[in-house]
Symmetry: C2
DNA sequence: GGTTACAGTGAACGACTGTGCACTCAATAG
DNA sequence: CTATTGAGTGCACAGTCGTTCACTGTAACC
C-alpha cells in the first residue's frame, strides 16, 4: 500500500483510490452474484436460475461460485435478506404518523409507491417468490408475518382501535398488508403513466376498509 | 394374447365395457399428461417441469408428448383452462344470493372453502403461477379480471351499492377478490384443523370491508 | 380385405447442468 | 523475505434436457 522507498517505487498506481483488500474483493464478487441473480429474476422464477449462468453473469467461473455460497438456495436466502431489508426500510419510512386516517393513508401509499419504484427488482423478487413454494417462499412468509405483526402494534395506537382485541388487530393488519401487496404487484405490472391511477385506487381501498373500523364490534 | 380358435371368436373379451375408441384413448393420454403435471406442480413452479418427466409420469415416451402438445407451455395453458373451469364453477355456486350481507358472506366463504378442499391442486396451481411471470401468469391474470368483473356486476344488485360508480364497484370487487385469494392461499398452507379459524378470519375481513360500504361517498 | 392415419417407440444428437479435482498466483501473516 | 491462505481457473465427468428421425402396430376407412 504505502509508497515503499527503495524496492518498488510505484506499486499502487493503476488503481490508486481502490485499496481492494482481499475480503473486500470477495464481498464485491458476492454482491455481483446477488446483482446478476436479481437481474435474471426480472422475468423468470428463481427455481429456473442455474449456478452457471449466475456465475457467468458475475464474471467468474462456475466452480468459483462455491467460494461464496454452498448452493443456489443459499444465494436465494441471501437475496431474501437483501430484499426484506428494503421492505423493512419502507415500513420504517411509513411510520411517520400523521394522526388522521386520511393523512396516514395517502402518506403510506406514497411511501409504498416511492419504494417500489426505487427498488423494483427487490419487490418483484419478493412478490414472485412469495407463492412459489419451497424454502424461499417460506422465508418470505415469515418476514411478511413479522411485517404484519409490527403493523398491528402501530395500529393499536390509534384511538378508535385501542379497544380492539389483538386478534381483530391482526385481522385488520393482514387485510391492510394484502391490499398493499396487491398494490405493489399492480405497480410492477403497470405500463408507464398508470401509477397515479393505481395509487389512487389503493388509497380508496384503504379508505373503505378504515371506514368500517368505527362500526366494528370487536370480540 | 387370447387363445384364438380359428379367426377371432371373442374379440372384445378382455375389456368388454371399455370400447376404447381411438380418439378416446388419445383423450385419456392427454388427461394423464395434465394430471401428472398437476401432481408434480404440488410442490414446485411450472417452469421447472420437464417434458420428459411429465411424459414418464403419464406412461408414454418423451417424443409421444408432441402428439398432444406442441410445447410444455401449451400444456400449461391447457392446465390454466382446466383450473379456471373449477374457478368459474365456484363463482356459479356462490351466486345463490341470500339478500343479507351476513348471509352472503358466510355462504361465499363456505363455498370457497368447499371448492378449495375439493380441488386443492387446481387452486394451488392458480395461486402459485399467478405471480410467477410469463404467459401463464398473464392468462391467469386475465381470468381473474373477468372474475372480478362478474363480481362487480353481481354486487351492483345490492341496494346500498346501486348508486355506486362502476369504478368504485370494481374497486370493491377487486378488494373482495384479493381477500378471497388471501384466504385460498391460507387454506392451502393450513395444517389440518385450522380451517375453521381461517374461514372465520375471512368472514371477519369481509364483514369489516362491507361495514364501510354504507358510509362510502362514491365519486 | 387392403390401405391409410396416427399414437406411441427407441436410438441418437448437441446443449446444458452441478460438481470434483488439481492448479495458479497475489494478498496476507509471521 | 518466506510461507500460507484462498479466490478464481480449467478440465473432466456423468446426468438431464428438448428435439430429430425412422419405425411399428393397430383402429378406422373405403
Amino acid at each position: 500500500m504505502s509508497n515503499a522507498v527503495d524496492t518498488r517505487t510505484l506499486e499502487p498506481v493503476s488503481e490508486p483510490l481502490t485499496p481492494v483488500s482481499r475480503q473486500e474483493r470477495k464481498l464485491r464478487t458476492r454482491q455481483a452474484l446477488l446483482d446478476t441473480a436479481l437481474e435474471l429474476l426480472a422475468d423468470r422464477p428463481f427455481a429456473t436460475l442455474s449456478l452457471r449462468e449466475v456465475a457467468k453473469g458475475a464474471g467468474i467461473v462456475p466452480t468459483a461460485f462455491y467460494r461464496h455460497f454452498a448452493t443456489m438456495e443459499d444465494l436465494g436466502v441471501a437475496l431474501v435478506e437483501e430484499a426484506t431489508r428494503t421492505l423493512r426500510g419502507m415500513m420504517r419510512s411509513a411510520r411517520t404518523d400523521p394522526d388522521t386516517y386520511q393523512g396516514m393513508i395517502s402518506a403510506s401509499v406514497a411511501t409504498v409507491h416511492q419504494f417500489v419504484r426505487a427498488n423494483e427488482d427487490h419487490f418483484r423478487f419478493l412478490t414472485r417468490e412469495r407463492y412459489a413454494g419451497g424454502p424461499l417462499a417460506q422465508a418470505i412468509g415469515v418476514e411478511l408475518r413479522m411485517f404484519s405483526g409490527d403493523l398491528a402494534i402501530d395500529l393499536a395506537r390509534f384511538a378508535p382501535l385501542r379497544s380492539w382485541s389483538t386478534e381483530d388487530l391482526h385481522m385488520l393488519a393482514d387485510l391492510i398488508v394484502s391490499v398493499m401487496l396487491t398494490t405493489i404487484v399492480e405497480l410492477l405490472e403497470a405500463r408507464p403513466g398508470e401509477d397515479a391511477k393505481i395509487t389512487g385506487t389503493a388509497e380508496k381501498r384503504l379508505r373503505l376498509v378504515l371506514l368500517g373500523v368505527p362500526h366494528w364490534k370487536t370480540t
